[in-house]
Symmetry: C2
Subunit: 318 residues, 2 copies
């Protein structure tokens, strides 16, 4: 089967692999992320070479396009990394640099939006959704009728937006990201944050009746509902898909969030809130998806903004 080389540039780690049109991920590799664009391009080229050699060895066909997902503010349409606080670039012509280093056309995209596309085609299957990647921060991707809404790269910066809590304005991700939940639980309980084993421990403590944990999660859910409520009122009800590390909380998160949103939206239909089905390699899968689409190995049925787009493999019945 044809595969695409897919590279997901994280803040500390690059995830690389070969992605097939059925969504299977083969030959997974990881590598530390160099902090400078040219060094990064060279490392990506190394990984691409390594995966290409692996494909030859395994007798796998590869598409010419290489899929690459990067964090920060990313303008997919022009191939520019507008800004990344973590990786320190500003208006870097990443797509051109990567193509030069790798010697192949690059299908270039934002990491959270790539994860959302993978989730759309190989995970929950929602062609119109708000996808939240909740980990250290909170990134959002809006998928409308099968394509992401980019707005020159500025869509999705939800985590840093203010939300009101007890009459004060607070930064959403300080309370509702996986890290924020750990920090707030540490503050309430007096347990040092380094001794808390991630947000999962806070959800477990809440399940066993710990009041500090319950209050921490209640605040996180309330602030997520406040942030999403007006957006759903304006856009109309659509699926909310929760990805990133916090997706593992499952119904402990989706159920109270559904309730809180239903309360806020009143006359609109109840949104469906569900955990993402793909795990921590979703962004790498999404990078592969972009390459397979660019190479014509996956065909997107075009649709208007108010219709439904669908992705299918060529030859698959429509």
């Amino acid at each position: 089967m044809t595969h695409a080389i897919a590279l997901d540039v994280g803040g500390t780690t690059i995830k690389a692999g070969l992605v097939a049109p059925c969504g299977v991920l083969a030959a997974q590799r990881t590598r530390p992320t160099p902090q400078e664009p040219q060094a990064l391009a060279d490392t990506l080229a190394d990984l691409a070479r390594e995966l290409r050699a692996h494909a030859v060895e395994m007798g796998l066909q590869l598409v010419n396009h290489v899929g690459i997902a990067v964090p920060g503010i990313v303008d997919e349409d022009v191939g520019i990394g507008v800004y990344s606080a973590n990786l320190g670039w500003r208006d870097a012509p990443l797509k051109a640099m990567f193509e030069e280093a790798i010697g192949a056309p690059v299908a270039f995209g934002h990491d959270v939006r790539s994860g959302a596309l993978a989730e759309m085609v190989w995970g929950t299957g929602s062609p119109t959704m708000i996808y939240l990647a909740i980990g250290t921060g909170i990134g959002a991707a809006v998928v409308l009728a099968g394509t992401t809404f980019n707005n020159h790269g500025y869509a999705g910066e939800l985590g840093q937006a203010l939300v009101s809590l007890h009459g004060r304005d607070v930064v959403l991700e300080h309370y509702a990201s996986a890290s924020g939940i750990v920090e707030q639980y540490a503050r309430r309980s007096g347990i040092p944050a380094r001794e808390i084993n991630g947000a999962e421990e806070v959800f477990a403590a809440a399940r066993s009746g710990n009041d500090h944990a319950r209050a921490t999660i209640e605040v996180a859910v309330t602030l997520l509902a406040r942030s999403l409520g007006a957006t759903l009122a304006i856009l109309g009800s659509m699926d909310i898909v929760l990805g990133g590390g916090l997706a593992r909380a499952g119904a402990d998160l989706t159920e109270p969030l559904t309730q809180a949103l239903t309360h806020r939206l009143r006359i609109s239909p109840m949104p469906s809130v569900r955990p993402a089905k793909l795990g921590s390699w979703s962004q790498c899968l999404g990078a592969g998806y972009r390459a397979l689409v660019a190479a014509g190995e996956i065909v997107i049925e075009p649709a208007g903004c108010d219709g439904m787009g669908t992705a299918r493999e060529p030859g698959e019945p429509q």
Copy 2:
């Protein structure tokens, strides 16, 4: 010049007229709105006949399509009035009923979304924006790359959504619509609401230093910013166009709202907040726009959800 018959069904009044592709509105008529769908269809047919006769008399050409804008929850794609509290319909096949009564194809749309389209093409010119119609209630329309985002009719129901105020959840339009501003000012000042001459009087009182009026408007602006902030973080910065009666407040509303949104969004680019350029006939103009598009008299350049659509008259250079 070719014109389209355009009919805007309001809660109490129908506005009717002839709309030219340059956005000129001729032969304006108004008529009380019958409360029952069939009686409404007959009245619309009467108005269409009257406007057709007027066009003949004036030597104006008419397109075959008639544009009709209706309130409530409207599914444009299937031609159904899903729900209107005011007009009492539920799942009414309005487009088919209107076509039967008028004897012509109908370009059918939601009133606020029609107003937003008119604003896009003949007003502020923003192809990607959130348009708010602020009057008795607050309706929203999202225009993405030149087309409205409908979501089966459920997009735009912002006014009834909850927003948090001093730790309580309140209904946005009770505080931030033109009527809400009058009511809140009446409550604070002790002046009976019926003696207050609309939200304009409250803005005027605030300008001359009245503390009750200032506080009323400050709350309205804060709640609008809270409702729009997360949406702009998720979608990325885009124009906010304020229509409806409250648009007349001009800079008294747009300036503090810009400030409040800039505060909330932090890392995202500052949105442009501006008053709509079209007045109270914008929805009728939008109904005409839909008919002219349906008849091929205005050509929309298609674009992806992340690109920019443009509308032009046929023959106009691209």
